[in-house]
Amino acid sequence: MEKSEIQAKMSELLVEELGLDADKITMDSRFEEDLEVDSLGVVELLMALEDNFGVQIPDEEAEQLTTVGEAVDLVDSKLSG
């Protein structure tokens, strides 16, 4: 999967699964500060990523994620690794 596809899918998931506003989402958006995603929202995101990209993301790796772009990079590395 191309990284641009991952980016597009990531934005879609944030809108569909977390109910975020599409126009607020950029790759630099920080989950907590900019998008107001709380700890429960992070778990929802993890499940959505695992279901939609077919990857496994341990909690320890999820806890390191700050921005949308970092989540895209993590999925990209899992898919290509």
């Binding site: 109910g19 975020l20 429960l40 778990v43 929802e44 499940m47 279901d51």
Partner: protein, 418 residues
């Protein structure tokens, strides 16, 4: 010190007869039924296929989707009714308003987030615990409607939830009034929400043989006190009252719908679902409410009955009214708005309290619709089929819950000189 009096200054309602108090009330006075075939869930294998479903509620008209998806439908109904009631009362607290510390919530619900419970239990069975929603528990627990009201409307005072089945929101209103009376708050949001037209709840009530199976005549299915009644019809929705200490309401020039005059409770101590035969338990709740209000049986002008349309409830409630009111029972108009709204379970006491307050305001009693054939065991005045214009000053509502919980509330016109 004078006793603190409690008045209702705001109302909100989400029902099958309208998403707002005015629509609800005009449909009630017109004798309209909110009952129809169930569309929300598959009931093809359940004996009952009818309910008073809310068909036109779009939660995103009231709150962002992001917020709504973390709320069970029962909490969404309560939330919107709370917003309406606070708007109606003209009460809005900013986060740092010290008055918000004196404003609280008592919510009531019968089953809480049963819809979320069912969907999450499916996820658990089909996909395992690691795919369950992280917000599932917070959506299921029965106290969350009250929790959300405090979070979103900045109500930082006492906050509890009553879970007494179909008496829950009557208890909520009575308990909230007592919290104000003892000085622990000046303003209380009180009421109930229920959204249990789900496979689990419809199936469960059907198995208890509690529901009407008059599937070929949905609008005629809820027929309280009629000889051919065959069970209750489930409803859903929410109703909320803003209760306020009289002096607090007067000082800000608030409109007062009525006063909470009396609150009585008792337990049947008899059976998990059936009322105690003869109605002695329910009668004690009514008598306790009269005593709390300092009233004699002959002083009451109207009863909004529990009137579920089950064979057992309606005859037992009739007996109970005769026990409590003795000779006055025969001249006392009694109606069941459940004939139109269905049974809102944990929200029933609140929607029926709202009906009492509006009856006092407008001088008109809601009818018991579908009343056609008299039952020798139900021989009182049930305001059959047509609303009745008659000025009233006091009204009682009865609510009885599985487990034998009996609650009676009395409302009255606000007497400034009292």
């Amino acid at each position: 010190m004078n006793e603190r009096r409690v008045v209702a200054t705001g109302l909100g309602a989400i029902t099958s007869l309208g998403n707002g108090v005015n629509t609800f009330w005009s449909n009630i006075l017109a004798g309209k039924s909110g009952v129809s075939l169930i569309e929300k869930v598959d009931v093809s294998d359940i004996s009952t296929k009818i309910a008073a479903e809310i068909k036109d509620f779009d939660v995103e008209e009231y709150m962002p989707r992001r917020h709504a998806r973390r709320m069970d439908t029962s909490s969404q109904y309560f939330w919107v009714a709370t917003q309406q009631a606070l708007d109606d009362a003209g009460i809005h607290y900013e986060e740092d308003d010290p008055a918000a510390l004196r404003a609280g919530v008592v919510a009531g619900t019968g089953i809480g987030g049963v819809e979320t419970f069912e969907s999450q239990f499916e996820v658990l069975k089909e996909r395992g615990p690691h795919r369950m929603s992280p917000t599932g528990i917070a959506m299921i627990i029965s106290n969350m409607a009250g929790g959300l009201a405090s979070i979103d409307f900045n109500l930082y005072g006492p906050n509890t939830t009553v879970v007494t089945a179909c008496a829950a929101s009557a208890n909520a209103i009575g308990d909230a009034a007592e919290i104000i009376k003892r000085g622990a708050a000046d303003v209380m949001v009180a009421g109930g929400g229920e959204a249990s037209i789900t496979r689990f709840a419809v199936g469960g009530f059907a198995q208890a043989r509690a529901l009407s199976t008059r599937n070929d005549d949905p609008e005629g299915a809820s027929r309280p006190f009629d000889a051919t009644r065959d069970g209750f019809v489930m409803g859903e929705g929410a109703a909320v009252l803003v209760l306020e200490e009289y002096g607090h309401a007067k000082a800000r020039g608030a409109h007062m719908y009525g006063e909470v005059l009396g609150y009585g409770m008792s337990a049947d101590g008899y059976h998990i679902t059936l009322p105690r035969p003869g109605g002695g338990g329910a009668a004690r709740a009514m008598t306790a409410a009269l005593e709390d209000a300092g009233m004699q049986p002959g002083d009451l002008d109207y009863i909004n009955a529990h009137g579920t349309s089950t064979p057992a409830n309606d005859k037992t409630e009739t007996s109970a009214i005769k026990l409590a009111f003795e000779d006055s029972a025969y001249g006392l108009p009694i109606s069941s708005t459940k004939s139109m709204t269905g049974h809102l379970l944990g929200a029933a006491g609140a929607i029926e309290s709202l009906a009492c307050l509006l009856s006092i305001r407008d001088g008109i009693l809601p009818p018991t619709i579908n009343y056609a054939e008299s039952d020798p065991e139900c021989d009182l005045d049930y305001v059959p089929n047509e609303a009745r214009k008659v000025p009233i000053r006091t009204a009682m509502t009865n609510s009885f819950g599985f487990g034998g919980h009996n609650v009676s509330l009395i409302f009255g016109a606000v007497d400034a000189d009292a």
